[in-house]
Each structure stands twice: as C-alpha cells, then as structure tokens.
C-alpha cells in the first residue's frame, strides 16, 4: 500500500511538529546546558511554520487516508487555538522551568508531541484516529504532570492522572468497540448512516454512546468525571497545568462535539438530556467547591471544571431536540468562541501563579497574593483583569463568551438554563473577587512582604501581554473572532 502524496501534504503540520519533537529529543543530549533555550525557540519556530500551513486550509473540507482524517474549517479553528496555547505554554515554561530547576529540553518535545496528539484529535474523522490522538496527548501529559520528579506532589499527580486516564481511555475504547460491533465501522460518517436508521431501539448503541460520553467527560473534566482534576492540576508544574487546563480541554471538546454531531447527530434526543444534566451539575459543583479552596491552583482547577460546564451549554444547544441548522451551529460556534476566550484568561491566570514566588517556592496559596497591589501594581492589575474576565463581567472577553453562550441557549428556548448559568456565574464572582480582595484590600505581613515577589522574564511578560490583550480586545472587539467561529462551526456536518 502506498501513501498518496496529497494525503501526506494534508497532514504536513502534524508531520512537521512530530518531526521537530524527534529532532529536539536527538539534539537534547548534545546541546550544552546554557543553550537549552535554543530548543525552545526551535519549537516555537515550528509552531509558526505549522500555523501558516494550517491556516491556508481554512474554508475547505478535505478528507484524507480513506476518510480517517478530515481537514475542515472547524479543525483549522481548533488547531490555530492549539498552536497559540502551545506557543504561550513554551514561552511561559522557559522562565518557569529554570526557576523550578527542571530545565530539561525534552519538555519542549513533549509539548510538541501532545500538540500533535491534539491536532489528530480535532482532525479525526474516525473513532480510532481520534482515540490515537487522545492517547498520544494523554500519555505525554502523564509524563509532563510528573515533571517535578523530586517532588512528591508532582509524582502523585502524574500517577493519579495516569491511572484514571488509562481507565477512562479503556471505557472510551470499549464504547468504540461496541460501536464497531453494531455498525461495522469506526468512520463517523458510516456510523451516522447506520445509527440514524436504528436509533435508540438498539440498546447497544445507547450503551456505546454512554461509554463514549463517560470517556470524553473525563477528558474535558465534567462532573462526575472530574475527580482527578484538582489533584492533578495542583501537583503538576504550573506551566503544565495551564497547558492541560486549556489545550487538552479545548481539543477534547472539539473531538467530543464532532463525534456527537457527526456520528450521532441523527439521534440527538438520546444524548442531549444526559449532556444537559452533566452540564448543570458541572457548572454547579465546579463553582460551589471553588469557593472553599485556599490554594489558587485548586481554585482554578474547580473553576476550569465550572467553565467546562459553561462550554457544555454550547453542546446542549447544538444537540437540543427540534433545533436544526442555524440555531444548532450557533451552539457550536458559541462553544468555540467560549473556549478561545477561556484560553486567554486561564493562561493569564496560571501565568500569574507561575511567576509569583515565595522564597524558592511557588506562591500558590491565595494568601500569597496578599497586598500584591502595593508592590506590583501592574501584576496585581493583570490578575484583576483575569479574575474579572473569569467571572464574566464586562468589558472583558469573559462576558462576551458568556453572552454568546446564553444567547444561543435562549434562542434554543432554554432561557432557564441561561438563568442557572448566570446564577452560578454570580456565585463564582465571590471566589474570583477574593483574589482581588487579598491583592488590593489586605495588608501584607512583613514576612510576606519580604519573601513573595513576581519573577518576570521577557518571555513571561510577553505571555501576560498576549493574555491580557486577548481578554481586553476580545471583550471590546469580539467581532472578527465571532465571525471566524460562526464560519468554522458551519463546516461541522
């Protein structure tokens, strides 16, 4: 069997990125310690090249490798977001790894490999392709979570992530195998053709669907499959946490939505109620439990669970019974918009946690932010912007994201869901503002004054500038991104 050249050209970005990851692994041993940054710059370079190649595919829909892979606007949108997040993660890590004394160049190779996995996920038109992408991403992330290998918490995080992740992958694979048994195929299109004919009458389809939802629910950290999130987020190096909270969540949502709509779009009533229930308990539990956290990383972990819940509103709308065409794709596009905006504010918030140092350690307790506004006006203000945006208060991007989600919900006749979402958004303001409160309204103790400081490098400053620019500009001029998301969502069949 020969590989057609055209197909290879289509996955050129993925090939470039995997190639660079291998190259970095080879170069790592022969690169002197003080030149490791070079490898980071090389990975950034390949991201730029890859994004240029990828973006040229926008607007088309091409299948490759006998329908295993699809490159459409929907995939391009997610890939561009993933490039951006990976790039910001690499920049953030350059200073952070040095501070934490875990500066190993294979880290950058892992970021690239995880990225490649995510790109395969968002481009997968076949359940097995998607599964391969998920595994490549997950296994890399298991390693990255344990990157602070001399710290118990980090190892625990890695082990916990691995055990639960492997378990959920197994469930996913089980679902896929049942689907294959029922429909005789793992291609999304072919599954759709068979499933539409049988519907819920075949209990096996229903069981398989449940298994898939559990598997994906774990990957996007939806309640009740969220148990791993706080521990893993807390223990992993902060730059990795940011990467997991944003990139892996975005990629999982992308694949999740594609599977639900392209393979099971004909039997929406079979899954939309379940998603609705998951959505509501995710928003509720994420926000409520975040209130009692004292560790910023844990708080942001629960906040990321809550935000997954909000994003699920988009899935609910896209899958709501009797909703077709424009309204359904409004659900998709509002989800895309929301996760893009979520990326900026979450990267920003985690970057602030990463650069706040307490002595030689990371300042990750909420208390460590006490009185920050006195010593680092700029830093405190950035954190204020990120927190306000996460709470969804205008004129920040977080508000725009919620506005479009709730608009889609109201349009689908789900005004009550919008009300529930907004009630919990108001509750969330309480814990986001607590960070603002300690920064601006509490006097630091002399010990805190002495030992906590922000460690800024040019790279981190750039990351923060990007994040805050995204949060503010998308809050005031969301138009272009909205149009792109609208356009991309239409390519989802």
């Amino acid at each position: 069997m020969t590989l057609p050249l055209a197909d290879l050209v289509l996955i050129l970005p993925e090939l470039l990125i995997v190639g660079m990851a291998c190259l970095i692994l080879v170069l790592d041993p022969i690169t002197p310690a003080h030149k490791k940054d070079l490898l980071a710059w090389m990975s950034l370079g390949i991201l730029v090249v890859g994004s240029v190649v990828t973006v040229s595919g926008f607007g088309e829909r091409v299948m490759a490798f006998s329908d295993l892979v699809v490159v459409d606007s929907y995939a391009v949108f997610w890939k561009m977001l993933l490039y951006l997040v990976s790039g910001l993660t690499i920049l953030l890590s350059m200073g952070y790894l040095k501070e934490e004394k875990i500066q190993l160049a294979e880290y950058y190779a892992f970021v690239l490999l995880a990225l490649a996995g995510m790109m395969v996920m968002v481009s997968g038109a076949d359940l097995l392709t998607i599964y391969l992408g998920i595994e490549l991403m997950s296994i890399t992330l298991y390693i990255m979570a344990g990157f602070k290998r001399f710290e118990l918490r980090s190892i625990e995080s890695s082990a916990k992530y691995f055990v639960l992740g492997a378990f959920s992958s197994g469930i996913l694979l089980y679902g896929i195998s049942i689907i294959f048994g029922v429909t005789g195929s793992t291609r999304l299109v072919e599954i759709a053709a068979v499933v539409n004919g049988r519907g819920i009458d075949d209990p096996l389809v229903f069981i398989a669907l449940m298994l898939l939802i559990v598997g994906f629910g774990f990957k996007v950290a939806a309640v009740p499959f969220h148990m791993w999130t706080p521990d893993v987020y807390e223990g992993a190096p902060t730059s990795v946490t940011a990467f997991m909270a944003v990139a892996s969540k975005a990629a999982s949502f992308a694949a999740f939505l594609r599977v639900l709509l392209e393979a099971f779009g004909g039997i929406k009533p079979d899954w939309n109620l379940l998603i609705l229930v998951i959505c509501i308990i995710t928003v509720a539990l994420g926000n409520l439990v975040a209130i009692v956290q004292t560790n910023v990383k844990r708080m942001l972990a629960y906040s990321s669970i809550a935000h997954a819940g909000y994003a699920l509103i988009g899935v609910v709308v896209a899958g709501w019974a009797g909703i077709e065409g424009a309204v359904s794709s409004q659900g998709v596009s509002s989800l895309m918009l929301y996760l893009a905006i979520y990326s900026f504010m979450t990267i920003g918030a985690f970057s602030m946690v990463a650069i706040l140092r307490k002595g030689g350690l990371e300042g990750e307790e909420i208390e460590d932010f006490t009185g920050l506004a006195k010593r680092h006006k700029g830093g405190a203000f950035l954190m204020l912007v990120f927190m306000v945006s996460l709470a969804g208060i205008p004129p920040t991007a977080g508000f725009i994201g919620k506005l479009y989600l709730f608009m889609a919900a109201v349009n689908a006749g789900l005004a009550w869901l919008a009300i529930i979402g907004l009630i919990f958004a108001a509750i969330s303001a309480f814990f986001y503002l607590r960070i603002v409160m300690v920064m601006y309204m509490r006097e630091p103790s002399s010990e805190q004054e002495l030992h906590t400081r922000l460690v800024l490098s040019p790279q981190v400053s750039f990351v923060l500038a990007c994040a805050v620019a995204g949060v503010v500009l998308l809050g005031i001029f969301p138009g272009p991104l909205v149009s792109v998301a609208d356009l991309s969502s239409l390519s989802l069949k």
Partner: protein
C-alpha cells in the same frame, strides 16, 4: 430589522457632526491614561482638570438640546459587532440628559472632596473615579441594550474597589455585599435582554424594542426580571440592605457617587425600560411597586430617625427619598414622572452635598457619631450654614429643590390613590423629624470637648465645592422651569406608551394583545400635564 424605519424618523441630530456624547464618554478614559502616566503628585490636578473638561464638553448637551423633541438627540450609531448586530449607539432625551449632566457635575466635586482625605494609592483612586464616570454616563446614554448592560456591569468593579480599598474598617464586607447584591440582581436583566432580542425582532436597539409589543404573559416575566435588577440598584425595600453598609464604609467620594448617580441607574431603568417596553405589566403591577415605595418611604424615615451614625442616617434617608422617586414613576402620570425625574436630580444634589458635609467633618474629627460632632454652629459657623441649607433642602422646604420634586410626586400620587398619597406625605413629616433632630444635635447641640480643638471652619477648597451645590439647590427650588421643560416632551412620550396600552386593554385596537392582564380601573390614571401647574 423590524421597526427600523420608524425609529430613524424620530432621531434628532443637532450635533453639527460633532459626536458630543462620545467625547463626554471618552474624555474620562483619556484622563485615566494621563493619570497613569503622570507623576503621583500631579495626578490629582490632572484628574480634576479632565473632569472639569468633561463637565464643560457636556454642557453643549444642555445648550443645544431641543426641548420640543421627544425622541433621542445627539444620536450616534455605529455597528460594533455584526452577528448578531450590536451597535455602539448613544443618544439622550429629556430623561437621560439631566442625569448625564449630574454625573459630569459631581465627578469634579468628588475629586475635590478627596483632595486631602485620600492619601494612599492616589492614582488608583482617581482612575476608579474616572472609570466610574465613563460607565455611568454610558448607562444613561446607551441606546443599545448590550452596550447598556456592558456599562451597567462595568461600573461594579471601580465601585467595588472604591469601597473596598479606601473605605472604613468594615470595608471588605461592605464591598463584596454591594458587589454580589447588584450582580445577582443583574442576572435576570441579562436573560431578559436576550429574550427581548428574540421576541422583539432580533435587535438590541432599545428604541426598536420599545416599539415592539409583547404578549402580556411575557411582559409579566420581563417586568419582574427588570424589577430584580432595578429594584436592587434603587434600592427598593426589601432589597436595600446593601446600601447602609456600602454608604457607611465607602470613602466620601464613593458615597457621593453611590447616592447621587448610582442609585439613579435603577430608577432610570424603570423609566427607560419597564414603563415604555412593558406598559401592560407596568400597569398591572403598579400596586405592588406603590406599596413597596410607601413602605420604603416610611421605613427608611423611621430607620433614619434611630441612627446614631451620620452616614447611616443619610443612607436610610436615601432609601426614603428613593421611595418617592419610584412612587412618582409608577403613578404613571405626567406630574408623578416629572416629579420623579426632578427628584432624582434633587436627591443627587442634596444627598451628595450632605455626604460631602459628612466627609468634611469626618476629616476633622475622624468620627461619624452624631454625638461626637455636636455644637458646630459656634465652632464652624460657615460649615453650619451650609449644612443647615442642605438639611432643609432634604426636608423639602419650599423655595428649595426637593420641594418642587416632592410636591409633583405627591400630586401625581394623589391622582393615583388618595391613601397612598397620604401615607407618602407622612414620609415628608418624618423627614422633617429626623433631619431637624439631626440638625439640633449636630449644629446646636453641645460640643464634645475633646473634639473642639479639631473643629476648624471650612477652607477655601471646601467652601468652593459646596457653593455650586447651594446654587443648584436654590435655582431648582425657585425656578425649575428650564429643567422641567427639558423633560416634558420625553415624559409625555412615556405616558403615551402607557395610554396606548390602556386603549388596547379597553378597546383592543389590534396591536395583538390579548386581555389576560387585569386592567386597572383606568379613569384615575391619565391626568395630562397642564392640569396642575408646578
């Protein structure tokens, strides 16, 4: 876009191409940049200059305002987001223009009043004040519902910081209470806006949405959704509990902004949205609002009577006074509404001035207890004079501003129901009681010996910032006509939206309404202007 055509015809644009409202809106933000870049020592002067400039460029809104026009003036409309169409569209009518001016007038005074009292983090303080100014002007001038909501919510953050950073000992609690209360109130507002978008012809244009008509059942739901947001902001009884905390803990400038401008956003919301958009529901639920208003008037007054803390007293008097405003609005006649708008301005001036006076005395004695601040007539004669003037204005002494407003509100209320009017009038008597009791203790009461050395009379700056307020008190009190003239046309239009709805209820003229609502006995509602001369 349904209804666009009719909207365009009622827009009046006498701006000569100059986007006055945008200039007024942007100037404070430019001030923020200037303050940010400037040296700490210069920041106060820069902020003051900018705020005075803002006041000056807002004056054309008054001068060039066409009193005969009921529609929006100084209209600007640009596409902001294209899908769905959200516009940056601004405009003022006779209801909002005075409120914009009130905001631009009070901001320089707020900066002046904080000249020496705020010592820490001066820059952040000024930035918060200037952002507040932009946000409040935006609320009053926005003609797009999403734009309105953006300004409405944006204002929370600077106010939260103003209370929480520069406030009193219990400031953190007061700040978060203020924030969560108002945020929770806004939840249903946003959903209502989205529902209106889909029900009112897929537009966020406030004027177009006003023209659309909604089924009575939907109107009820929307009415209570609006009510949740606006009643918390006003604040109406029983949603007022955040106000005393916020007022007591806020720095003087924060209290002034809070009382004078922020509370008006709630009553403005009733006037701009609830009444014209949901006429049937407004009529149907008038008794509820009237009852709550009367309770607020009397309860607020009694609470004020019992306070030993100066700021708390004025805070509860605010609850009482704002009761008059909602009373006037929901009297649903020209006198009531015009009186309410006038009273919104008056309360802004008088209560703002009283908080300023409290700030001045607090700077000297560092106590808000009334008993600590006695005997000022001898120690600070100039201050005492000003204080008594503002106190009497608050009582509604004839010849002063509040008298005109309260009188009109009462006339309007009596037309609606004699009992309600009588009970509300009781509030005026109670106001006299708590204010005069306050004056007696503070101005004429015994001076506290350990405070006496600290009591120095007004300096030039303090004198200067109180004078403009006194001028306004007497000007509106003696010659309110210019201000009332500005409102007439716009108020009549609000009433007209009510009367068409009554016609629909009585005759059913085919606007698509079904008669599910219990129609009010309508004879007592429509007293057009001219029946009673102010």
């Amino acid at each position: 876009m349904a209804g666009d055509l009719s909207i365009v015809t009622e827009m009046v644009i006498p701006t000569g191409g100059i986007p006055w409202l945008t200039i007024v809106l942007i100037l404070p933000l430019l001030g923020v940049v200037a303050v940010l870049l400037a040296h700490e020592a210069l920041s106060r002067a820069i902020a003051l200059t900018v705020s005075i400039l803002t006041l000056l460029v807002s004056l054309p809104l008054w001068v060039a305002f066409d009193n005969a026009q009921a529609g929006m003036q100084f209209v600007e409309k640009h596409l902001w987001i294209d899908s769905p169409a959200i516009h940056y569209s601004l405009g003022v009518d006779g209801i909002s223009m005075p409120l914009v001016l009130l905001t631009t007038f009070l901001t320089p005074l707020c900066i002046l009043v904080s000249w020496t009292s705020v010592q820490t983090r001066m820059k952040e303080f000024l930035i918060s004040l200037l952002v507040m100014e932009t946000a409040t002007i935006g609320v009053f001038a926005a003609l797009d519902f999403v734009l309105f909501y953006v300004f409405w919510e944006t204002m929370l953050i600077p106010m939260y910081l103003l209370i929480g950073v520069w406030g009193g000992p219990n400031r953190v609690y007061a700040a978060i209470k203020f924030f969560l209360y108002t945020l929770a109130g806004s939840i249903l507002l946003l959903v209502a806006i989205l529902v209106l978008f889909f029900e009112g012809g897929r537009t966020f244009d406030i004027l177009a949405l006003t023209h659309a008509s909604y089924a009575p059942g939907l109107q009820s739901l929307l009415f209570w959704a609006f009510f949740a947001a606006f009643a918390v902001k006003v604040p109406m009884f029983p949603f007022h509990t955040w106000l005393p905390d916020a007022h007591v803990e806020a720095p003087t400038a924060g209290s002034i902004i809070l009382a004078s401008v922020l509370l008006k956003m709630g009553t403005y919301g009733f006037l701009r949205f609830s009444l014209p958009m949901l006429p049937d529901a407004s009529v149907a639920y008038t008794p509820v609002i009237m009852t709550l208003s009367v309770i607020a008037i009397i309860y607020g007054a009694f609470m004020a009577l019992a306070q030993a803390d100066l700021k708390k007293l004025i805070a509860y008097s605010s609850v009482s006074h704002m009761g008059f405003v909602t009373l006037g609005i929901f009297a649903l006649n020209a006198q009531g509404i015009e009186g309410a708008i006038l009273q919104m301005i008056n309360h802004g001036i008088t209560t703002g001035a009283l908080f300023m006076c409290v700030g001045i005395i607090y700077e000297r004695t560092h106590s808000r207890q009334i008993t600590d601040n006695g005997g000022l007539a001898n120690a600070m004669p100039k201050y005492a004079t000003f204080f008594v003037i503002f106190a009497l204005s608050s009582v509604g002494l004839p010849g002063m501003n509040s008298f005109v407003g309260e009188f009109l509100v009462l006339v309007g209320t009596f037309a609606w129901s004699k009992l309600t009017g009588t009970l509300a009038a009781l509030g005026i008597i109670l106001a006299a009681a708590y204010i005069l009791y306050l004056v007696q203790r503070m101005i004429y009461g015994p001076a506290s010996p350990q405070m006496l050395p600290k009591l120095t009379d007004l300096n030039f700056r303090e004198f200067g910032m109180l004078v403009p307020l006194v001028v306004l008190v007497f000007w509106i009190g003696l010659y309110p006509k210019p201000l009332l003239d500005v409102m007439h046309a716009s108020v009549e239009r609000v009433i007209a939206s009510q009367s068409t709805s009554v016609m629909v209820q009585e005759g059913g003229d085919g606007r698509g309404h079904t008669l599910a609502m219990t129609a009010e006995p309508s004879g007592h509602r429509l007293i057009m202007k001219g029946d009673v001369a102010p």
